[in-house]
Amino acid sequence: MKTVRCSILGFGAIGQGVAEVLLMKKEYLESIGLEVLVVAVVDSKGATVNPEGVDLADCLARKRTGGTVAIDKLTGVEVIRSVDHELVIETTPTNIVTGGAGLQNMIAAFETGKDVITSNKGPLTLKYRELMEAAKAAGSNFRFEATVGGSMPIINLANEVLAGNKLRSIKGILNGTCNYILTRMLEERASYKDILAESMELGIAETDPTYDVEGIDTACKLVILANSIFGLDATYRDVEVTGITKITPEALEMAYERGHVIKLIGEVSRERIHVAPRLVPINHPLAVKGTLNVASIDTELAGEITVTGKGAGPIETASAVLSDLVAIYGNR
């Protein structure tokens, strides 16, 4: 049995999802020879640390009743530097302006030779090349499947499963909130404003929906795909972005009468990174409904490969984190 000692930095919805999945998958992980020992859980107020392994069920309970896991006044970076472990699971909130705590955590993790698995888009959007170089210099594994498309496999699919194929482009729906809003506007013939309000009530849109509806979230994901799959050195500024705030129910209806739906489509190739609402034929593989995400990879040998799945949700996103964990430690 190989023991992997890890920390979970950021204990919001995703971090808690990771904890739940680790509890749920304990037996499975043991069956492939892995014991995952969480030695620290950190949220914005502090940390719970135990070199013998923290009690994840207890952490979840305390977070849900008391709002925090904090016992020791330690930050993520302090835990990385002072607690002995191999893997940092980085699930702090995305900040695309400064990179936030996530960027500091990742830098500290590589400086101390740790592997990193993350769901946090911000640092990868801002400092992709620097982070990759730091990981390489430290000999660390760095995986981030959960940053794009939630549970839907895309980065590992393109780089590993489709290895050997030259990839021409990837296009798809990478933001479930926009997909939900456009789907519901057509179904209800309701205005953008009304459906946005409904989405907020259901918790599908955030209280400040700007990142989602202006296409910024999709653009960030495309930057990650551009860098990790197409080998570019792109940042958010290289993306042409148009959001969905101007879409009218009348436009959706007229398009539908001609056999099309309108979707916010992200597209990346070596030449161009682009986000805009597009007309998609109703029977097209990218015309998925509700909060689903979808991506089509145009490959040299295999033709078009399309994947679809839930783009958000704690357990779904944690599924991508788990697959990264197994990819790093499972076959060693």
Binding site: T248, E250, K263, R278, L279, P281
Partner: protein, 167 residues
């Protein structure tokens, strides 16, 4: 093959039937009929444009049969427009001059706005239009879209293009 045919009908009842009967006889597939009732010719006939899918060897026979029925065939040619695209425009589509937007495309000679649906839900609300553009070839279609893009930027219209078009 696809051909366009310009014919002229006398302005009396039953003429359209006389025009369509030879098409049916030679199993032509009628794609579009444009009946320009307002555009009388000096001969007081009504011009009609047809687009047909037919076997090339039947063109002569159809033409002869139409003329036998008293219908003037002005022109027969290979159909020019091979490419077609739907585009959605959202914004103050009407107030910024929809005719002017259409003219920009039509005056190219290689592309035409052939259909338009328009919705204006109310004053101060955004209007939406769905237009169909036909063009001679793929490159011409791209050029027409480039023109439309410039017009859209100038008029602050959101242009929604099909997914398979290079935006």
């Amino acid at each position: 093959m696809r051909v366009s045919m310009d014919i002229e009908l006398k302005d009396v009842p039953g003429q359209m039937l006389l025009a369509l009967q030879p098409l049916s006889e030679f199993k032509a597939n009628l794609i579009t009929v444009l009946h320009h009732h307002q555009k009388r010719t000096p001969r007081k006939t009504v011009p009609v444009q047809l687009v047909l899918e037919i076997k090339p060897e039947n063109i002569g026979a159809i033409k002869a049969k139409l003329e036998e029925n008293g219908i003037k065939v002005v022109r027969v040619g290979e159909h020019r427009f091979r490419e077609s695209i739907n585009v959605v425009l959202i914004g103050h589509v009407v107030h910024t001059g929809i005719q002017d937007t259409i003219d920009e495309i039509d005056k190219t000679g290689f592309a035409e706005v052939v259909d338009i649906s328009l919705s204006m839900p109310g004053i101060n609300l955004l209007s939406s239009a769905l237009i169909r553009i036909d063009a001679v070839g793929k490159e011409d279609l791209q050029k027409a879209l480039d023109i439309l893009k410039k017009v859209s930027v100038k008029k602050d219209l959101l242009m929604v293009l099909p997914i398979d078009i290079h935006a």
